[in-house]
């Protein structure tokens, strides 16, 4: 990582930029926040940590006027404030980039920046807005293309637009809710540079993340929430990942080594259950995203897919699960070529899919938790019997998925968007594992989960493999891939650079392959 920043010292004499005192927030059946104090100094990057559902997003929603606290005070620059809406919060210099972006997809970058802004010129043509946007981008050193539509942008670029939108409104406190969950390591480094730059002039950043290394790298101080309450504030320099994890869950977390195959685990099948042969795939813009890929997935193995995000991972997971048609090539399940299958057929054959954009495509945010939990099994007994959908049976099934996912749910009829981001992801993951009797395609399954939950999730993936399912694990975390995979394929610009057996892996070689170097002489297992 980068060189350790000098030890942070709380500036004496300076008033905190943001101070929260005794904040409480209750939802029906849930204490989201209780007695929470938080103090953020000018020039500080302050991290907010906690398990899924600990109340981090809620606390920040209160600070930015989306929710009103049930108790407690918000003090900005020494003055008590009340924000009835985010507009008032941003007027006081507090802006937030949310866990799920709130950009208007059909609009351009410039239009999104100027949307709902008092300083937008009354009569503005597209060139004027774009020119203003370019000037802002220059000023804050954030590269964006003013005339591009949001749909054309990568996730990292969309995030830059969100940040620029907040900074343009003269924010002095920038709140980022899990900003790096969707970024490539390179994009994350860019972001950190921009953040350091931003606080160097006396501004402050509040940063929510589940990646403990990253928290220690970027932040000055860390506040930990547990079950809606504050568990402490620490100097990052005094912490280790293990200590933070302990503060978050209240006990030590032991990271299990998962490579060992227990006796009785299903053996790796000799013939592949799922097979791609010379498959090319187009992306949404009609460009070739995968170039003639061949890949075998066998029963009882975990096939890791390494690579920097955006090199065809999305299209790969989609073509493996029937949500995207191959342009050319053959897809075989159990040796039978699938001609025109759709996702429902793949599900019927026991193929589960944890999509990378699970909250956008894997859920219906406005429908109930029950409706979302039964998405994969609604069409068969016990939920549907003779064409009749049985809400009672649906709820029973939802309840069992929620308890397997270890998510506590006060009310199954409430819209699923009311759950914390991580808890939504856990439900999707469990839902998919239930149906993945043959294959599970898991794209970045640990994104957005807290350390404990990641551990549990990976454990389940291994159990699924031991029970005889084939797993395709797409991830950017090399450590995770090395810890779990039996074989690792490296994806670069829509091509497989090579497939390595895990017991003969050379990290440097993987690194080179991720940068586009083809597999060396040593004889690839399969290409």
């Amino acid at each position: 990582m980068t060189e350790p920043s000098p030890r942070y010292v709380v500036p004496t004499g300076a008033a905190p930029l943001v101070q929260l005192k005794g904040i409480a927030k209750y939802f029906p059946g849930v204490i989201a926040n209780q007695d929470v104090d938080l103090e953020v100094m000018p020039g500080e990057i302050h991290a907010l940590l906690g398990e899924n559902g600990a109340g981090k997003s809620t606390l920040m929603n209160i600070l930015t006027g989306i929710y009103q606290p049930d108790a407690g005070e918000i003090i900005i620059d020494g003055y008590a404030c009340q924000f009835a809406s985010p507009v008032q919060a941003i007027a006081a210099g507090i802006g937030m980039v949310h866990q799920h972006f709130k950009l208007v997809n059909a609009f351009t970058v410039a239009e999104n920046i100027h949307l709902g802004w008092s300083e937008t010129p009354r009569r503005a043509s597209a060139p004027v807005l774009e020119e203003r946007t370019a000037a802002l981008a220059q000023k804050f050193n954030l590269q964006v293309k003013p005339s591009a539509r949001i749909t054309e942008l990568s996730t990292g670029e969309q995030q830059r637009v969100e940040i620029l939108r907040v900074l343009a409104r003269k924010a002095r406190v920038l709140i980022l809710d899990e900003p790096t969950a969707v970024l490539t390591p390179a994009e994350a480094r860019e972001l950190f540079k921009a953040l350091r730059n931003f606080v160097s002039t006396g501004n402050a950043v509040i940063f929510i993340s589940h990646k403990l290394d990253e928290v220690l790298e970027i932040s000055d101080r860390v506040t930990i929430l547990r079950g809606g309450r504050k568990a402490g504030t620490e100097f990052a320099a005094d912490c280790t990942p293990a200590k933070l994890a302990r503060l978050m869950v209240g006990r030590d977390i032991v990271l299990a080594d998962m490579r060992a195959r227990p006796p009785g685990a299903a053996a790796v099948s000799s013939s592949p259950v799922l097979r791609l042969r010379d498959v090319s795939v187009l992306n949404d813009n009609g460009h070739t995203a995968l170039h003639g890929i061949s890949l075998d997935v066998r029963a009882g193995e975990i096939l890791g897919i390494a690579g920097v995000a955006g090199n065809g991972q999305r299209e790969l997971s989609q073509v493996l699960t029937g949500t995207r048609q191959a342009a050319t090539g053959v897809i075989e399940i159990d040796g039978h070529a699938i001609a025109h299958a759709n996702a429902a057929d793949f599900v019927r054959r026991g193929i589960g899919h944890i999509p990378e954009d699970r909250l956008q495509s894997g859920l219906a945010p406005g429908l109930s938790i029950t409706a979302n939990a039964v998405m994969r099994e609604y069409g068969k007994p016990p939920v549907t019997v003779g064409g009749l959908f049985r809400p009672g049976a649906a709820k029973t099934l939802a309840r069992s998925i929620a308890s397997a996912a270890e998510v506590v749910i006060p009310d199954f009829a409430m819209p699923i968007r009311n759950l914390s981001g991580g808890n939504q992801q856990r439900l999707v993951a469990r839902r998919e594992m239930r149906i993945a009797s043959k294959i599970l395609v898991a794209a970045y399954p640990s994104r957005g989960l807290d350390v404990g939950a990641i551990n549990i999730m990976l454990r389940y993936i291994v159990d699924l493999r031991n029970a005889g399912a084939g797993i395709v694990l797409i991830s950017e975390e090399l450590e995770e891939l090395l810890n779990l995979s039996d074989r690792i394929a490296v994806l670069y610009e829509g091509r497989i650079m090579g497939v390595l057996d895990n017991d003969r892996v050379d990290i440097d070689e993987i690194g080179l392959m991720m940068g586009g170097r083809l597999r060396g002489e040593k004889g690839a297992a399969h290409g």
Partner: protein, 348 residues
């Protein structure tokens, strides 16, 4: 010192929502009353008159019963389309198309009695379906916004009916020269003037609610309506569902047109819809996506319309009546929003 301020809740409690609506309607009536008082009418007497003549006599109740039939169906038509995320602004046109097709069968098909009614019913639903077919296909295959296409087709249907009733199908030697001859097949009445169309409309709304809540198909429709991307992820035939639901929506509005012809007007004439199609949009908005809610929203709307008719007999103009209707809807919408807020008191 205690300080009061407003707090917005992410979702309103049912009690608050109901209370806000009752308050909104009461407030609208009070404002209307004050305005009436200003133009020299006695609002209390007028109010009493409205209540006694619409609710206090069987004639009034029968009128309500007749009004509520097309309103339930057009409201249901719009609500059904909403389930899959489509706005059917064309219930008006589909109503006319249904009335047109039903009249064609009633006038010219060699069917007798009951069979003629069945034929008219099928034709009415089919007419409405045909009228939404192009918007449905255009939305499904070319992503053309249905708001505009359905709206434009309204004018075509209105003109078509106007043309046939004053020209091609006009009753020769008739008194008015602006309507077709009387259609013989009639839906029998079961209570005064109210015909069996009322139970049919109510049953249809209940059936729709059941279909959406208790069938696999209904689940899929709600899912796609809530997030089209999820439909793709699950491999649901989203396009087919969109077309089916929109056609169903059109057919329901078409049936409303047929019931109006066969149940109460008995001839095809211009202006047959009384704006029921557009009023259906308001009914759907009041019902907030609930098919059962449509029944109650339609009843409320029928009462307002009926009150309007009574007020007109008391010398008020149509526009006054429309203004009061608008006021009620406007305040209800505000009330719905305000029910998300509560007043809290903090001590300082």
């Amino acid at each position: 010192m205690a300080d009061f301020r407003l707090q917005r809740l992410p979702s309103a409690t049912p009690a608050a929502a109901l209370g806000a609506r009752i308050l909104a309607i009461a407030l609208a009536l009070i404002i209307a009353g004050v305005i009436l008082a200003f133009v020299g009418k006695n609002p209390l007497a007028l109010g009493l008159q409205v209540v006694t003549s619409s609710l206090g006599s069987s004639f009034g109740l029968e009128d309500l019963g007749l009004l509520v039939i097309p309103l339930i169906l057009t409201g249901l038509s719009v609500t059904v389309a909403q389930q899959i995320g489509a706005w059917n602004i064309g219930a008006e046109g589909q109503f006319y198309a249904g009335a047109f097709a039903a009249s064609a069968v009633g006038l010219f098909a060699p069917l007798s009695g009951g069979w003629s009614l069945v034929g008219m019913g099928v034709a009415g639903a089919f007419g409405g379906l045909v009228w939404i077919l192009i918007p449905a296909l255009a939305r499904a295959y070319a992503n053309v916004n249905e708001l505009i296409t359905t709206l434009l087709l309204n004018f075509v249907a209105i003109l078509l009916v106007y043309y046939v009733s004053t020209d091609a199908w006009r009753e020769r030697g008739g008194v008015a020269n602006s309507a077709t001859p009387r259609i013989k097949a009639e839906i029998p009445e079961f209570w005064g003037l109210v015909h069996w169309g009322l139970p049919i409309a109510v049953l249809l709304a209940l059936a729709m609610a059941g279909l959406l809540a208790f069938t696999r198909w209904g689940y899929e429709v709600r899912l796609i309506g809530s997030n089209p991307a999820a439909g793709k992820y699950l491999g649901i035939a989203a396009r087919r569902h969109l077309i089916t639901v929109m056609l169903l929506s059109g057919a329901i509005a078409g049936l409303a047109g047929m019931l109006e012809i066969a149940g109460s007007v008995h001839r095809l004439q211009g202006g047959i819809s009384n704006n029921y199609g557009y009023l259906g949009i308001m009914v759907a908005v009041l019902a907030r996506g609930s098919s059962i809610g449509v029944i109650f929203a339609a009843a409320l709307m029928a009462f307002i319309l009926n009150s309007g008719i009574i007020l007109q007999t008391q010398g008020l103009t149509t526009s006054t009546v429309l203004a009061i209707t608008g006021l009620i809807l406007f305040l209800t919408a505000i009330g719905d929003e305000l029910s998300h807020y509560r007043v809290v008191r903090d001590k300082s």
